[in-house]
Subunit: 181 residues, 4 copies
DNA sequence: TCTTAAACGAGACGGTACGTCAAGTCTTCGC
DNA sequence: GCGAAGACTTGACGTACCGTCTCGTTTAAGA
């Protein structure tokens, strides 16, 4: 396995490149160069750019929504917090560029898509499930998808993110649907 | 500008390559080679891969939902038809590969994203708006987004597309929300 | 046949390009563009760059040494005048660039070399022959070559041209050889 | 820098291409292809065709006149040997094609001309200087130029090379001039 | 004067080569 | 003998010219 100093340098290089030059700059060549290591050293530990991205994301506290959530708030407030956290995460550097680069690869590589879902998406959705289930929702999966879909959809198509007001309204609506069942 | 036979050959080449080798094979070099034209001929008419993709998509009847829609059906049925059409379009070759390639570029090129929204997304949303507005919906934009978001979200993250039953349920739910207002 | 105005425009374009951007800029594409004519018009009258160069050179008084020669001077002075004229011609724009471009093509195209010898070199040598023959030289061809060779040699290898003093000395030496015979 | 096997393959490719298809075939693309190496490998070690040519020439015993010179012969014979060797070198493949290609570039690229003079011409002239100086010539540079100029002049203009008889006579004449001083 | 054929500008076309960049593999050498 | 450095093959990038080939449009006769 690679030395921990090598790993740290790679992570730092990825974050720097993402923040400075955007998602396009994230190439194996560029990362190795910026980290000051040989290309083979990079390939020895990670098979390609997406693997490095996952590592960098997970290593840098990619636990969205876990911070500052009003654990004691009511159901709606907790969901609002989760969505606000997700919205902020995907629009703040260097996470924004990393996720953007990942999103591009997801489109052309099914295995990356699968890994994204298991390592990043599902943990995030699980939080929403938990809140919904705690509130007695009959179909937490469906409700969670309804909650998250517009957020992801807008980010994916580079539409302006939902404002806080829109998010509040959105949570309210989805909860109304759940109650209706 | 370009001769119509040239354009036709380029479109054919794009569709063939997309169907045969997937989104990754869509390079300017490959398209020119498959179409049997010079690279400069390609670059003279299209600045890059995304431009060729837009042209090929729009030229091949990219008017989703317009075919077979039950224009005389009731509101819910019309919306179901639109969503089913959209779902099928994004999962059927060669459209699937072309859109997938486009989705990848959208992630790293804001101008492509803008062009996608204007030339492909908005016409599609407009159809939904029209149906909703005809039904007296107070907020057709919001409802349309709620309808489309899960479809795009699943496609984008390569989750299995919604089944017809799920789509029917989804339309029903969103309409219930609209009525609730 | 080409219209005279076309020919004139081509000649003008060649001289301008040669003077402004050097020998490298002399391409069929560039000449047509600068002359404001179609490429086919150019190719209709000239098969390639060298042909245009010959035409432009011959049309612009490429009769080196004919001007200002002291026709009544003695033998040595007349030869000096011829060599000085040749030296100046090959180092003054736009002739310098045209000849330089021609020299490049001569290296890779035997037919251009032949045409150069008959249309440009031999007339020039003939002048030297005439003077030498008038002076009773027994081998005017050999003497002419001895006279011209260092001038061409230096120009070809981009060495500094002979100074007037060196030229005078050179003529003197060659004449001494001729007399020696 | 480059691996020695790479360099060897490049040199071989250059000689083969020059001998088979003449100076025109010497392109970076063609050399890389024939050598079975990547273009980037070629560009990493040589900035362009002329650099490759210099290397190939210098690597293949480009020490003209050094072989078979009658070191113990008298002055005239040594000079004749040098000139004969030079004449043969420039008219024998594959050197002929390499030098021809170089000659073309010299016409349009001053830096190549400079490098040619330093790396190929001056060593050759130095040999002539040495012989002349050993013979007590008062102006070895001028005499050397006088000796070489007709040889280069004829080669450059693609005139038939001097016959051995002409060379002998030429050496005799130049020596007579030197003695005259 | 009308017409008709040429010469024309414009530029699309299939190609070849340019020089650069990144991918992923393989080699060399120092610690 | 492991790992950093970097040379390697491959192939796409976008550009410049090449020489050929239509397109309509002048232009300059001859009828």
């Amino acid at each position: 396995m690679a030395r921990s100093s090598t790993i740290a340098r790679v992570h730092a290089a990825v974050l720097e490149l993402a923040a400075e030059h955007g998602p396009t700059s994230l190439t194996m060549e560029g990362i190795a160069s910026r980290a000051g290591i040989g290309k083979q050293t990079l390939y020895r530990s990670w098979p390609g750019v997406p693997a490095v991205l996952f590592d960098a994301l997970l290593a840098h506290g990619d636990a969205p929504g876990s911070d500052g959530a009003r654990a004691d708030g009511d159901l709606a407030h907790q969901l609002e917090d989760l969505l606000v956290a997700a919205t902020e995460e995907i629009s703040t550097e260097p996470h924004a560029s990393l996720l953007r680069a990942l999103a591009a690869v997801i489109q052309t590589d099914e295995s990356v898509a699968r890994e994204y879902r298991t390592r990043l998406l599902e943990p995030q959705l699980a939080q929403v499930h938990d809140v919904l289930r705690a509130a007695g929702s009959s179909e937490p999966e469906r409700a969670a998808e309804l909650l998250m879909a517009p957020v992801v959809y807008r980010w994916f198509l580079r539409l302006p993110p939902m404002t806080t007001e829109q998010l509040v309204r959105h949570v309210e609506d989805v909860l109304a649907l759940t109650d209706r069942d």
